[in-house]
C-alpha cells in the first residue's frame, strides 16, 4: 500500500472544516495574546517609528 492509497481514502470534504477550526484556534490564541499585553508595552512598541531617528543623535 502506498502513501497515495492511504491519502486517497481520506474524506476530504471535511478538510475545509478542519482548516476552519485550526484557524479559529490560532486566531483565538493571537487575539488573547494581543489583549493580554500590557498597555505600557503596547504603547512603547507603537511609538517606535516616531521616535527621533530611533537612537540618540550625537
Amino acid at each position: 500500500m502506498r502513501l497515495s492509497d492511504i491519502v486517497g481514502h481520506l474524506d476530504l470534504t471535511v478538510w475545509p472544516k478542519m482548516a476552519l477550526v485550526l484557524f479559529l484556534g490560532v486566531f483565538a490564541g493571537v487575539t488573547w495574546r494581543a489583549l493580554r499585553t500590557s498597555k505600557i508595552d503596547i504603547d512603547a512598541a507603537a511609538a517606535l517609528p516616531i521616535e527621533e531617528e530611533g537612537a540618540n543623535h550625537v
Binding site: 490560532v26 495574546r33 493580554r36 516616531i50 540618540n56
Partner: protein, 803 residues
C-alpha cells in the same frame, strides 16, 4: 548648492563607523545611499512598467484603426502598424513584460527602499553588510534587465508572473535570499532595539514566503542544459534556456495559483503593509491606531492568505474540495484585511485636517482606501457564483489594477514624496506638482477601473446570454470583443493619465535631487548594544511576576505563562519568529498540496489521452513562447453557456502531459480547449498570417514571422527527451533518429494539405506548421476510442484536422 553627483552616488562624509563602545554606547550611522538607489529605480521601473501597460492597452484597440486613413497625403496611422505584427512586440510577449515590470521592478524596488530605510531605524543599526546591500541592488536590476530582454524574445516558462526561465530564476533566488535575506536577518540579529516592530514582522513573512513560493513553483527541468550535459551539443540560446516544469496539468495549475495568489499576498501586500505601519505613523506624526490590532492583523493574514489560492481555479478541473477551501478562506481573508485598512486609516485620528494640505497623506489615504476596496472585492470574486461570471473577463483585470495602481502605486509614491526631502536633505522641489500627480493619478485609476469593470461585466454577460430559442445570443466570440472596444479606449486614456502622473513625479524627483547639498550630512547615533546588557536587564519582563498569593508554584507558573510574556520573548528572537511564520505558511500549503499531489482519483486517467507527437510538442512550445495563454484559455468550465460555445467541458485527465498547463486566466480571444479539428489547416495558416482578414474585427496580432522562420527540427529531440524524463510515456519517439523523422513526416502531411486546399507550397519546414499541428490536436484525444493500454506510446503522428 552644486550638484556634484548622480542620485545614486553618495558623497559619504563618513563611511560605516567602526562599532565602539563609549560608556556602554555604540556609535553607528544609517546607509541612506542604498535607499536613494532603490527609490530612483522605483521611479524608473514604474515608468517602464506603466508605459508597457499603455502599449499593450493600445494593442487591443489599434487593430481596428483605419490604417489607410490619409491626412495631407500621408497615412499617419501606419506608424502604429508595427504594434500589430512585429514578433517581439506582440501582446503575448509584452504583457508578461508589463506584469513582471510592475510586480518585480516597480513594486520590488519600492519594497526594498522601504525595507532598507525603516529596518535600519527600527533596529537602531546600519544594514549588516554594505556589500550585500550593493550586490542586492545591482543583482536585482540585472534580473529586471534580463527579464526585459528575454520576455520579448519569447523565452518564457509560460506561467503567469513566473515567466522567467531557470537561469534568471536561480539568479533571483540568490539575490533575494542570499543577498537581501541574509543582510536583513543579520541586521535583525545585530539590532539595538529589543522589540521587533510589527513592520519587521511583515518583512520577515515576505522574505521567507516569497522564497518558498518561488522555489517550489519554479522546479523545472532545463532541457537545453540537460541536452548539453548529456550530448555535448550546444543548441540555440532560446532552446538552451528553455525548461519544462516538473508538474503537469492539474498539479501544475494548483502550484501556479498557489504561487500566483500568494505572490500577490507576500510581494504586493505584506511588504506594503510593513511600509504602511512604518511610514503612515511617520507621516501622520502619531503612532498606529492600535498596535494590538496590528498583531492580530499580522497573524491572521499570514495564516489565512496562503489557503486562498484555489479560488483562481473555480469550475476548472481542480478537485471540488480544494476549490471550496480556497473560497472559504478567501472570504475569511476579508476581516484581517479590513482590520489592517482600518488600522491604517484611523492612524490619522485627530489629524484628518492635515490630509487636505499634505500630499504624502493624500497618497496614503487613497492607497489604503484602494487596499480596502480590493480586499473586499477579492473575497467577493472568490465566491463561486460571482466567479463564474467574472473569471476570464476584464473584471479581474480591473480588480488587479485597483490594487496595483491604487494600493501599491500610491503607497510607493506617498513613501517617495516623504523620503525625497529626507534623503536629499532639501525641501521637495514642488508640493504643487506632487498634488497634481495625486489628482491626475487618482482620476487615471478611476477612469481605468470604471471602464474595465464595465467591459468585464458586459462581456461576461454576453458570453452567457441566450436568445428566446435557446441559442447563444452572441455565438461569434468577436462580437463580444468588439462590444467592449469603447471601454478599451477609455482604459487607454486612464492609463496615459497615470503615466503622466509618474512623469510629474520624475520631474519632482530630478529637481529635488538637483537641490541637494554638495555633501550629505550623515548623522552618527549612539545606542547600547543588546548583547552588552546583562541577561536580567535584557529580558527583565520575560518571565513576569505572578500576582497570585498561592503557595503552589505550578499555579504561579501557569499564571506567568498566561500573561503572555513568553510570546514577547520570541517576538524579539528573529529566528524563532521566522520559524513560526514558516510553520503558519507551511501548514496551510501542505494541507492543500499533499492531497492534490497524492490522490490519484483527483486526476482520473483517460485511456485515449496520449502524449503530444514530437511536432505537436514543438508547436506547443511555440504557443508558450508567443504567450498565447495571455489571451486564450484552454479550460471549458462545466457551465452550459461554455459547453454550448466550446464543446464538452474539460477533464482533469486531459492535461496529464501538459508541462506546463496552459489553462490561462483571461479570454481576450476564445477558449481553445477543443480547437482541434474545428478549422482546416489552411484556415489556421491564413489566420496566423493575418487574423483580421479571416475574422473581421479580430484584434489578434499577425504572426508573419511564424510563416517565415524555419522550425528547428533537431531541437525537437531534446524536447521529447526532457518530457520522457519527466515521466511522459514516449517510447518509439525517443529512439535515436525517430523523433525527427516523425516530426518531418507529420509536418510534410500538414504542408501538403495546406497546398491541396489552395495555400502556398513548400511550407512544411516553417514554425507555423508545428503550431498548426498543436492547434489541431487540442481537445481531440477525448473523442477517440480508448486505446488498449494507457501507456502505449504514440506510434504515428496524428494527421491534424484537415477538412
Amino acid at each position: 548648492m552644486t550638484p556634484a553627483t548622480t542620485p545614486i552616488e553618495q558623497p559619504l562624509t563618513s563611511v560605516r563607523p567602526s562599532l565602539h563602545t563609549t560608556a556602554g554606547l555604540e556609535s553607528f550611522s544609517y546607509d541612506d545611499d542604498i535607499v536613494r538607489k532603490f527609490l530612483l529605480m522605483t521611479l524608473v521601473w514604474g515608468l517602464v512598467a506603466t508605459l508597457a501597460g499603455v502599449v499593450i492597452a493600445a494593442q487591443l484597440v489599434i487593430p481596428n484603426l483605419p490604417f489607410d486613413w490619409t491626412f495631407l497625403g500621408l497615412k499617419p496611422l501606419m506608424l502604429l502598424k508595427p504594434l500589430t505584427d512585429t514578433s517581439w512586440l506582440t501582446f503575448g510577449r509584452l504583457r508578461p513584460l508589463h506584469t513582471n515590470a510592475a510586480i518585480f521592478a516597480f513594486a520590488g524596488n519600492a519594497i526594498f527602499a522601504a525595507v532598507y530605510y525603516s529596518t535600519q531605524r527600527l533596529c537602531k543599526a546600519r544594514m549588516w553588510s554594505d556589500k550585500l546591500s550593493r550586490l542586492h541592488f545591482w543583482g536585482w536590476q540585472s534580473i529586471i534587465v534580463a527579464a526585459a530582454i528575454t520576455l520579448p524574445l519569447g523565452i518564457t516558462q509560460g506561467k503567469e508572473y513566473a515567466e522567467l526561465e531557470w537561469p534568471i530564476d536561480i539568479m533571483l533566488a540568490v539575490v533575494w535570499l542570499g543577498f537581501f535575506g541574509t543582510n536583513f536577518f543579520m541586521t535583525l540579529k545585530t539590532r539595538r532595539e529589543r522589540h521587533m516592530y510589527v513592520a519587521l514582522w511583515f518583512y520577515i513573512a515576505t522574505i521567507v514566503t516569497v522564497t518558498i513560493l518561488h522555489v517550489f513553483n519554479n522546479l523545472s527541468l532545463p532541457f537545453g542544459l540537460f541536452h548539453f550535459l548529456t550530448t555535448g551539443d550546444m543548441m540555440s540560446p532560446d532552446v538552451f534556456m528553455k525548461s519544462y516544469p516538473v508538474y503537469a496539468g492539474v498539479q501544475d495549475a494548483f502550484m501556479q495559483w498557489w504561487y500566483g495568489h500568494n505572490a500577490v499576498a507576500f510581494f504586493l501586500t505584506t511588504p506594503f503593509l510593513g511600509l504602511m505601519y512604518y511610514f503612515m505613523p511617520k507621516a501622520a506624526e502619531r503612532p498606529v491606531f492600535s498596535y494590538r490590532l496590528s498583531i492580530i492583523h499580522f497573524w491572521s493574514l499570514v495564516f489565512i492568505y496562503i489557503w486562498a489560492g484555489p479560488h483562481h481555479l473555480h469550475y476548472t478541473a481542480l478537485p471540488q474540495w480544494a476549490s471550496t477551501l480556497g473560497m472559504l478562506f478567501s472570504v475569511m481573508l476579508w476581516m484581517p484585511s479590513w482590520g489592517g485598512m482600518i488600522n491604517g486609516l484611523l492612524t490619522l485620528r485627530g489629524a484628518w485636517h492635515k490630509v487636505s494640505s499634505d500630499h504624502v497623506l493624500k497618497f496614503f489615504v487613497v492607497g489604503i482606501t484602494f487596499y480596502g476596496m480590493s480586499t473586499f472585492e477579492g473575497p467577493m470574486l472568490s465566491i463561486k457564483s460571482v466567479n463564474s461570471l467574472s473569471h476570464y473577463t476584464d473584471w479581474t483585470i480591473a480588480h488587479v489594477h485597483a490594487g496595483a495602481l491604487g494600493w501599491n502605486g500610491f503607497m510607493a509614491f506617498g513613501m517617495m514624496y516623504w523620503l525625497l526631502p529626507r534623503l536629499f536633505q532639501t525641501p521637495l522641489w514642488s508640493k504643487k506638482l506632487a498634488g497634481t500627480h495625486f489628482w491626475i493619478g487618482t482620476l487615471g485609476i478611476l477612469l481605468y477601473v470604471s471602464a474595465i469593470y464595465w467591459a468585464g461585466i458586459t462581456q461576461g454577460l454576453m458570453w452567457r446570454a441566450f436568445d428566446a430559442t435557446g441559442r447563444l445570443a452572441y455565438p461569434d466570440f468577436v462580437e463580444t470583443v468588439n462590444a467592449i472596444q469603447p471601454h478599451y479606449w477609455v482604459r487607454l486614456i486612464g492609463g496615459l493619465m497615470y503615466v503622466a502622473g509618474i512623469v510629474l513625479a520624475g520631474v519632482n524627483f530630478y529637481m529635488t535631487w538637483r537641490s541637494r547639498p554638495a555633501t550629505y550630512n550623515v548623522p552618527v547615533y549612539q545606542a547600547p548594544a543588546l548583547t552588552t546588557l546583562a541577561p536580567q536587564a535584557r529580558f527583565a519582563d520575560e518571565l513576569g511576576t505572578s500576582k497570585l498569593t498561592t503557595n503552589i508554584e505550578a499555579g504561579r507558573k501557569i499564571d506567568m505563562f498566561l500573561q503572555g510574556n513568553w510570546h514577547r520573548r520570541w517576538e524579539r528572537l528573529p529566528l524563532r519568529f521566522t520559524i513560526w511564520t514558516i510553520i503558519a505558511v507551511a501548514v496551510a500549503s501542505l494541507f492543500e498540496i499533499i492531497p492534490t499531489f497524492l490522490i490519484r482519483s483527483n486526476v482520473p486517467t483517460i485511456a485515449s489521452v496520449k502524449p503530444y507527437t514530437p511536432l505537436e510538442l514543438a508547436g506547443r512550445d511555440i504557443y508558450i513562447a508567443e504567450g498565447c495563454y495571455n489571451c486564450h484559455s484552454q479550460m471549458i468550465r462545466p457551465i452550459f453557456a461554455e459547453t454550448k460555445r466550446y464543446g464538452e467541458y474539460s477533464k482533469p485527465g486531459e492535461f496529464v502531459y501538459d508541462h506546463p498547463f496552459q489553462w490561462g486566466s483571461r479570454r481576450i480571444g476564445p477558449d481553445l480547449a477543443r480547437e482541434g479539428g474545428k478549422q482546416s489547416n489552411l484556415w489556421h495558416y491564413l489566420h496566423f498570417k493575418d487574423p483580421a482578414q479571416i475574422t473581421k474585427g479580430s484584434i489578434m496580432p499577425a504572426y508573419p514571422h511564424l510563416l517565415e522562420d524555419a522550425l528547428d527540427f533537431e531541437a525537437i529531440k531534446a524536447r521529447v527527451d526532457a518530457m520522457a524524463l519527466l515521466g511522459v510515456p514516449y517510447a518509439n519517439a525517443v529512439k535515436k533518429g525517430e523523433t525527427v523523422r516523425m516530426a518531418h513526416e507529420q509536418a510534410a502531411a500538414i504542408g501538403e494539405s495546406i497546398a491541396q486546399q489552395g495555400g502556398p507550397e513548400g511550407v512544411a519546414d516553417k514554425k507555423v506548421i508545428a503550431l498548426i499541428a498543436y492547434m489541431q490536436r487540442l481537445g481531440t484525444d477525448i473523442k477517440n476510442a480508448p486505446a488498449p493500454t494507457p501507456t502505449e506510446p504514440p506510434t504515428a503522428p496524428t494527421q491534424g484536422g484537415a477538412k
